[in-house]
Symmetry: C2
Subunit: 244 residues, 2 copies
């Protein structure tokens, strides 16, 4: 399993991903699911991936190869709009799933991959897209300005409460980590290290990219402050009417 | 959708359920999913139900009919152990699903129902069981002393953090409502009224049974205190190392 999320704020973008892959409980591994491309100076582009690891790796490789290949039809640096990049990634993903599935329709589900594309190309606003296995995609909404892929449910309630397009990048970053922490506690197949990327709108460079291992001092202090705070909050909740 | 949960504490049992049923977004309704049986004085038995509404209603009717039918093979009052009651309910449920599915195997999944059975029969400890559509069942564990059916994921993180067998019935009751509140916010097909049942071990009578409508003053005060508390807690979280 996997858990990745992207938040689009007025102030910029916050991306987070876990790093656990599992091909069965006896085959756990650590792979980064956050991919950044050293693209032209007029753009910052990152991809988060979930689903079949062979598919996601093949998609990333293909994107990288196209960047260095003058004979490629197009590449990440040449597309003028972020939604065109979403389409480009979606087409590659759908094609690779199709290649691997071969003749067997029942394989198609196994090869599926989901992506979140987030970034900014000069001349337009920063944005984020969720790319489905079929290659189609949706943009994040302003009302619910976050996208999730993988094990999305455990971490959603805190996003629903805290995330608003107007909050600061740092507040959203803390919320992303708390959302990740909740998912890791409730589903053992979501695991550290947690990666976090913060992009300030119109800066055209990544402001922060961090990797928090399980024993990272900040991650632990945040997790403990949150757990202790919830305990305290619970003590202060209004008593039932019949309680003394 | 549905969300029901049962918590087994050293001090007793806490049960909670939502009341929304949906046969499509244009066919929402309110039905109680918490069923209590006015059984013999030596036992308290409650059932929470999720899944196909026709199946769950037929199961409840059959249990009630058996109670008043001297010719029935057995009934809720005659069984000596709570796990036998789980088996009895499971057999009825599996049989009704089978009856309704008819010859068509593809109907079987549509008819599925899940139950949580919770209560106490004199001579043994209070307990809770999750009954699967196939009729088999599991008891709640001591390490993770709660069971959930329906839309279980959104409400699980707060249970994972707060619920411990040693806490008070009231604290667990508040946690159950918060868990329900999180599920209602994240999934519109979980909805009020919320029902809550509190049973103190060895009392052989239900201590509290409440029904909280959306505009219930206590439910609103709890929900607001929780939301405000989370906002405050977020402000107090440790800042990233690079923040001033």
């Amino acid at each position: 399993m996997t858990y990745c999320l992207a938040i689009r704020l007025d102030a910029g973008l916050v991306l987070a991903s876990d790093s656990r892959t599992s091909a069965g409980v006896d085959d756990l591994n650590i792979y980064s699911k956050m991919h950044r491309f050293d693209t032209a100076g007029d753009r910052v582009i990152a991809l988060l991936s979930s689903g079949n690891l062979a598919t996601t790796q093949a998609v990333i490789k293909r994107i990288e190869r196209d960047l260095g290949d003058a004979s490629a039809d197009t590449n990440l640096d040449q597309l003028a709009h972020l939604d065109e990049v979403a389409r480009y990634v979606g087409e590659i993903s759908a094609q690779i799933q199709n290649d691997f599935s071969g003749q067997a329709e029942q394989n198609a589900g196994l090869m599926q991959a989901f992506f979140i594309l987030a970034g900014q190309i000069r001349g337009e606003a920063h944005d984020a897209f969720l790319i489905y296995p079929q290659g189609n995609y949706i943009a994040v909404s302003r009302n619910k300005p976050f996208l999730q892929i993988g094990e999305t449910k455990y971490g959603k309630p805190i996003l629903d409460r805290i995330i608003d397009a107007g909050i600061s990048l740092e507040r959203a970053g803390r919320c992303a980590i708390i959302s990740m922490d909740a998912s890791m506690r409730s589903n053992l197949s979501v695991g550290p290290p947690i990666e976090l990327l913060i992009y300030r709108a119109d800066s055209f460079e990544v402001e922060r990219r961090c990797r928090f291992d399980q024993d990272d001092a900040y991650l632990q202090s945040l997790s403990r402050a949150w757990a202790d705070g919830l305990d305290r909050l619970f003590l202060e909740l209004p008593r039932f009417p019949w309680e003394a």
